[in-house]
Structures are given as C-alpha cells and as structure tokens.
Symmetry: D2
Subunit: 154 residues, 4 copies
C-alpha cells in the first residue's frame, strides 16, 4: 500500500531532524535515524553493554523503544508542518533473543489516516553471521495538531 | 485472583536482586525495584532530562521499559530457582502524556501458568499535584528453563 | 477513574437500544446487553453448541466478539448523539479455556478522550461452579462524527 | 522466513479437515478454509446480512474470528499429530470499514517455536471493485500437548 502514501509536509526531513535535536532519550540510548523517506523510517542503535539485560541479551525495552521510534517517525513523515504524532498504543512480539553489534528497526506506515496512522516496525539484530528479524511491532499513532484541543481529556 | 498466587522459589527476592546486579539497561536509565512481593513488583525511575522526547514529555520507550520490567519481574517471582521469564509480547496503551518527577510502574500477575504468565502493569507519573495513571500494559511472559531446549527455534 | 466519566448524550441508552435493533451479528450469535451505564456496559451470550470450537470450548472468536461489543458500547455511552465509535484495535488475552452455560463481558472506559476512548473488557464464563475470568481485552475506540470526513483515508 | 517452516505432522491437512467437522462456530458463521499449506492457511466467509453491525459494515467480531481461524490453523499445520494450538493472545488492527461480498483471511506463521508460534493474518474484503486489506492481526499461539499437563493452572 506504500504507493498511496502522500505527505502533507514536503520538508518532513528537516522537520524531523529539528525534532531529533531535542530527543533526549534517543541520544541517551544512542538511537539514530539512518533513513527518512515518505512513510518509511529506519533507526539504528550500536549495541553496547548498557543495552543488555541480566543475561547479556538486548533488553526488551530497547527493542520496544527503537520500534516505537521507527514506526512513529514513519507516521511523522506524513503529517502537516504544524502537526505531530503520538503513540496511542503499541504491541511488540519478541520472536528471538537479541545478540549482536547493531539493532536496526524499519518502520512503515501500513494505513495512513486523517486522525490516526497504523504503523509497523520490524526489528533486526545484526551480528557476525548476518541480520536476523527478532521482533515486530504494530502501533496506532494519533495525529496531533497542537493548535487544537488535545487528543485526550487531561 | 492474586490470592491464588504461589511461588516455586521461596528465595525469589534474593534471586531477583542477584539478577538486578547485571541489569545494565535498567541501571542506564535509572530504573530500580522498590517492592518485590509474590506476583507483584513495583519499579521506579526518577525522571531526568535524559528520559524526555522532543517536547519534554517522558519518551514512550521509557514507559514501555518500566512496564516490561514491573510486569516481567512480577512473573519472575513465581518461577522456580532455575527458571526465568522472557517477554513473548507486550502491548502498551498510552492514556496521557507523562510529565512529573517520578515514573512508577506496578506490575502484577493476572493469570499464572506452567509455561506462560499473563501479567499487567499500570504506569503512573508522580508530580507536584499527585499521581496519575498514564499507561497500562498487558503482556505474555514465557517461563524458561535454561536446562531444557529454548523457547523458540533459533 | 470511573468517577470522572461524563456523557455527551443523556439519551445514550435509547440511542444504543435503537442501534441494537440493526445489530445483525449480535443477534446471529445471541449476544445481548444486560446493563448500560455511563462508561460501563455488560454483554451476555447464553452458550450453545454453535459457539464451540472443535474440542467443545467456546471459540476464541466468540470471546473476541463479546469483548469488542462490551468495550465498544461502553465507549459509545459517552459520545454525542450524532457520533459513534469504531474499534481501531483490540487485543485479547485468553487466560483459560471457556466452558459453561453463559458468557459475560463487562466493558468499561478506562480513559475517555475527545477523539479516542481507551476501553477494556473482562470476559467471564458462568458454569455450575460459579463465575470465572477467562479473558481480558484492551482496545482503542475511535470517536466518529459521520458529519465530518471519515476516520481514515478510503 | 517461510522457507524455514517444517511440519511435525505430514498428515496436517487430514488432521485439520477432521477438526473442522466439529468446528461449530465456524459453521455457524459460514467460515471455511480454502487453502491449507505448511505454515499458511486461507479462510473465507461469504458475507451475508448476519455478519453486519448496525450500519451495514462487517462486524469487528467476524473479522477477529476469521483472523484467529486463519492464523491459528496456520500454526496448527506445524504441530505434531497429537498436539494442537490455542490462541494465547491476539491483537487486531482495523484499517478500514468492511463492505463487500466475501471476507478473506490469509494466515501465516511468522516465527515457529517448540512451545509457541507467532502468527499473523491479513484480512481482505472482496467487492465489486476488487480486494482491499481491511485488518491485520498478530497473535501468539501456544502449542498444546493434551497428553501433558495443561498450559495454564486451572
């Protein structure tokens, strides 16, 4: 369905790069975007000891975070210059333990909408023997226009 | 259903505390356990700038991580001394933006099983005006016995 | 959080009852609403052979349906007379096999919003030995105003 | 990853067809399997008035059921002759309203395991203007051996 994707912000790359400057948690865990296309974003984390849980595998929270980042920014590429997206919900299925030198998440918009985008992300671990799919996330991203009243009652 | 919870490891607290020593990602994001009971675990993160996304709210990945930690260790309190749990899948619903000085997750086992535990976690943000529920997670935790063959085909 | 729930349609019961007249699938599987309060709806299905899967248990699709109905109408009680709700996504965790004479789902709004309601439903089976929780669903319900453009791009 | 799929039951088709004879709920809603391959199953429902909700669209419960059936039997094709699968959890994202003459679900095993299979299903509606993806489900299917103690504590 990717063929049908249109963006409401031709400068989406610049808008996202500007947002990333203030993305403290992504910086804290070493998460960067390596590709930003309309409806498709790739994120990467060079894996360090700090990303591990107690038996040396990548912590599930790291995987959830990179999936959320890739899927969320994929949705972000479509919205208007004044709008942004927030994660309404995300589900992550963990297929295999994560062990390797780099974590990669490929996010995509599966179904765009005026008020919500359905997005997904595949998470891979890259190691000496190649690249392996270790998790998949499906998410509902709400489109927010800060000039209007908020998404939810506070 | 909490009344029915039984643990297969009377020393579950010591087992968990020992595991925490090597929990690098939890240390990296300042996540600690503040209560460990049979089938119920509370986790906390004192919120800093490093936990924020681009508009100053707690990053969804932080919320997903603390929910996974609280729900996962709640399941961990029930398993045998040689077993552990891994997250098969987790879904997080984000009710409200997170802004405050402390993030708290209360994890619980909703339905224990021989091979999987269904767990949940409520995530609260604590600020000057009190405590507010901002997210809820539901998760399937697989019970792993490392002495047997792994959960999934590698 | 139920205390905070407000409805935008004082005649929500009448509106829902009118909708039920044309709810063909609910009729087809014998699903009725037994309680309709602001933000809380109970649904029931008297269990027959037609609700079973191959080994005599309630089919997961029946459980998913009654959970969707109870959670969805719970959200419906809050919206304006011209609005309705649609399920954006639902996750169902199946705790135990379903065997009994009646299936009951209690739906509730956990977090209301202008544009989406986060709802949940607990599903019980009632048998000779009492009532047992067999599943829980969490769902995002989108609020739709048919006078405006649709939720999603068609 | 489909290339790696192996079945533990060469007679999986016969086993499934035998199970279908007693699948009362599938019969009740007119759901049939139209293709059964290793790790891939297609289900169909000719749409009637009885499958509709109040405004004439396919009820979400019908979509959840056909997704569960297709994904579940996809997992079933892999397990041993004495084993079966049960849905531990399923999440369905509803992309578009369902309107047409036939509902089709394509289920697949994304990651097989000894004790659980991660499966997915895409749900399409077929109408006069062609076929359209309207929903996607992700699910954890537990592998059950009835000769051993049950999956969960009762």
């Amino acid at each position: 369905m990717a063929a049908a994707l249109r963006t409401a912000n031709p400068d989406f790359r610049e808008t996202i790069l500007r947002h990333l400057e203030r993305q403290e948690f992504m910086k804290h865990i070493g998460c960067v975007l390596t590709s930003i296309e309309v409806g498709r974003v790739t994120a990467e984390i060079p894996l360090e000891r700090e990303h591990q849980q107690q038996i040396g595998l990548v912590h599930g929270g790291v995987i959830a975070t990179i999936a959320d980042v890739a899927a969320g920014f994929a949705g972000f590429t479509l919205v208007g210059p004044q709008e942004h997206t927030v994660t309404a919900e995300i589900k992550i299925s963990y297929f295999s333990p994560g062990r390797g030198h780099t974590l990669v998440a490929e996010g995509r918009v599966v179904k765009p909408g005026r008020r919500m985008h359905f997005c997904e992300a595949d998470v891979f671990v890259v190691g000496d023997t190649g690249r392996k799919l270790i998790a998949r996330a499906t998410t509902t991203m709400a489109v927010i226009d800060p000039r209007k009243k908020g998404l939810v009652q506070s």
